[in-house]
Symmetry: C2
């Protein structure tokens, strides 16, 4: 739970030692705090030819009260910003040494109009000029159109190329800067706000190198909600809520206004009760793997219904396959994957999960890349990705979204018990040079659970600080 190296190199003495020895100096990430403004400072805006998303962007920047500057390549920004009542000015590049220039909190580039590989040079010009102006824990957001929606192979190709740029920027920016790519479908411009807010906010501190698609979901995007309490009046279930990441999820959903129903195994009742008491939630003791549990959960929740269901509960029973017991295989698959399937079936059949609701599942980078000693766990977590992809079209008829988050190295009691060398490798092998916090996973889940995230479904988002480990 405690990254002593991170603390050390951020102390006055440690910073000197690290500098003189050339050691990595992970940044203390700027994270969301209820007692600090979520949004402040300047967004620097860039754009390629024929940008199509500046209007939607200006709307959001105005709503959240940030100011902006326009790179010379984004000349269209100025009249738009004025129309949206947004304070704006001209971009002035930082001096090569950094230093005295006013720094910006976010670089946002509208690449939506790029339809050939040659036009990618507009990204070069913007990030070449602007990257040094970006603050610590700053944000890089590239906006594009889903490649497969483009009319020509060349436009598809150019939009697909954005991934390479964004991920490289995430790897070279350092200083706690996160870089992400958002593909906005034609017609989904009005559905971008919740996602843009998340990626501009300190809530997304440990989400980097990700590609997110926003589709059209006009039928289910609510007309209005309170941005400070977006889950007000909603009921959210979190499995495995007694401790660790599950408890963090419960906390964040409660902070956003939800009434949380925490589920955990009967042996964790005391911890679960305590966790739920803290947030005014409801504790339900269930073994999610028991065959009778899905019907019992549906019955327990039936009267009031559920708006958000977070499948977080999971276990590991690691062994190489030759040494793994049949029970270790079966239990991990059953608890991490099959139980989710049975519970969703019961809730959907009973109509307990309301139309327009949200399902969020916890996968893992092991489910993406596989892992030594985790054939069972990786199968279950890869299966979770399949669940999200397969259920999304089916649930869309009810306006329900289903998505997954895949945590990387997160500082928990579990990782605290890892051997030192493995733990250090896991912590440092990512663009943030540090592990994430349970709250980082929870904030990503809250974004996916948000009423404004109606256009996001069938997707997998890693919360891994852009971990090197992939597939």
């Amino acid at each position: 739970m405690n990254d002593s190296y991170l603390n050390f190199v951020n102390s006055p003495l440690g910073a000197r030692v690290a500098r003189s020895l050339g050691l990595p100096k992970p940044e203390v990430l700027r994270r969301y705090r209820a007692d600090a403004p979520e949004f402040d400072g300047i967004v620097a805006v860039g754009a390629g030819p024929s940008p199509q998303l500046l209007d939607a962007l200006a709307d959001v920047v105005a709503h959240i009260g940030m100011t902006s500057v326009a790179h010379p390549g984004a000349g269209l920004w100025v009249p738009l910003a004025n129309r949206h009542g947004l304070m704006t000015g001209r971009f002035e590049p930082a001096a090569p040494a950094g230093g005295s220039q006013a720094r910006v909190r976010a670089l946002v580039f509208d690449a939506s109009g790029i339809d050939s590989s040659a036009q990618l040079d507009s990204l070069y010009t913007f990030f070449h000029d602007a990257l040094r102006s970006l603050d610590q824990s700053g944000r890089i957001i590239v906006l594009g159109r889903p490649p497969e929606s483009r009319a020509t192979p060349r436009a598809w190709t150019a939009q697909r190329a954005l991934e390479g740029v964004t991920r490289s920027l995430g790897k070279e920016a350092r200083r706690g800067i996160a870089a992400n790519l958002i593909y906005v479908a034609q017609g989904a411009e009005s559905a971008v706000e919740a996602t843009l807010r998340f990626f501009l906010s300190p809530r997304s501190a440990y989400v980097s190198g990700q590609t997110v698609r926003i589709g059209t979901a006009p039928a289910t995007l609510p007309a209005d909600f309170d941005w400070t309490q977006p889950l007000a009046g909603q009921r959210a279930v979190v499995t495995g809520a007694a401790r660790g990441i599950g408890a963090a999820i419960a906390n964040v959903l409660a902070a956003q206004g939800a009434h949380v129903i925490g589920i955990d195994i009967p042996s964790a009742t005391a911890a679960l009760d305590a966790a739920m008491r803290q947030i005014g939630g409801t504790a339900l003791a269930f073994d999610i793997a028991a065959p009778e549990t899905p019907a019992q959960i549906a019955a327990a929740l039936d009267e009031l219904g559920v708006d958000v269901f977070v499948h977080n509960a999971g276990i590991t029973k690691d062994k190489t396959i030759a040494k793994m017991s049949a029970a270790a295989w079966r239990d991990v698959i059953d608890i991490n994957l099959s139980a989710q399937e049975r519970i969703d079936d019961a809730l959907l059949e009973a109509g307990t999960l309301r139309n327009g609701g949200r399902i969020v599942c916890v996968s893992s980078i092991s489910g993406i890349a596989g892992n030594l000693g985790q054939t069972n766990y990786a199968a279950s977590k890869a299966g979770v990705i399949g669940r999200v992809q397969s259920m999304a079209p089916f649930l869309a008829q009810r306006g329900i979204t289903i998505n997954a988050v895949a945590p990387g190295f997160i500082e928990t009691q579990m990782t605290a018990k890892m051997p030192l060398a493995l733990r250090e490798a896991g912590r440092r092998m990512n663009s943030m040079s540090q592990g994430g916090q349970p709250a980082d996973v929870a904030q990503a889940i809250a974004w996916l659970a948000h009423p404004g995230s109606a256009g996001v479904t069938g997707q997998l988002v890693r919360v891994c600080g852009q971990s090197l480990i992939g597939a």
Copy 2:
């Protein structure tokens, strides 16, 4: 080009030193050699419920002259094998210590009938029993159905879970063992042979952790060809053929019977001429980035036409974006990406690339994951992925396939110049604990160029020894 650590730990003294210090001991990979049998030894066959691909598998195993054993869970194999005239027997697990038991060359599991997460336990049983019997440089192949083709979310989920199992097996098997997953579409059973041969062969030594899809392409699967010289009578163009990976591609395509036309820049004419002379190929000096080149290439090739076009030429000009020159950005995008687009347009418009032909592009793991100092290169290589995805449906009308390979750390003159620490990290951070050879990339390209690979299109296959680095 020379991995001295690999050589050292595989010497008698080095092996003792490595053992006593607990150092990793990368295996000397078994690679294809013209003077050794490509296929020999035993395939151990396993299956889940209702396997649908055993018939196709038996056909291939019989053709290549391997023998087989059936795991108790694959009882259907025995009568099938008999029908295909295949020598077969019962599987006997190796003793826990390994040792005296006859070892097998490949473990092949037919998971095509698995339609629920609980049925995944059949994979556990087979690999639990069989993994210790697998030889050094052995092969693990899991056969499934494309998840998105399944009728129910649960079947989709279970098929998707196979990726987690296969990738974990690749990471824990060590000893030079490669593990891959092949999804065979319904109706594409007759199109599996070229792909199964590749993944069973020492040709795929450095391809691990990959997922390949075989679709239906009956119209373009040739009735017959010579498996030892599948490209006999064909003309194959390779760009950047003077040296390195390009020269290796030219060699392998020539060894498979193709007449190779090597293209490289005029300044490399001497090297190109020498490389082409060795294989009886034709040398063409062109700067592929010059605007007039596409038409000139089309004109030069027009009379006889082309069957295979390999876009291999590429450059790097690495710098972090703030320090990168506009020319470094432009040149890398233009040579690595835009030039490919212009050349394909010219060849397709002129009909120079024959119907039923093959395009293979060289991408990179940088294009997948991004890389520090390579915003330009990663953009170009991510764009190549977009090219393959976007062109595939369009080219299918002509029976042309387009695919990409993404090399990981390959031992070349370029990597020999890297700083030691970076080079060692690149070499060891994969399941083979070593870099690949240019021939490994070339063999993967030859598989995609194969007339029998008509069902493989729009895909990206990494040649990276299951590098940790992903996206």
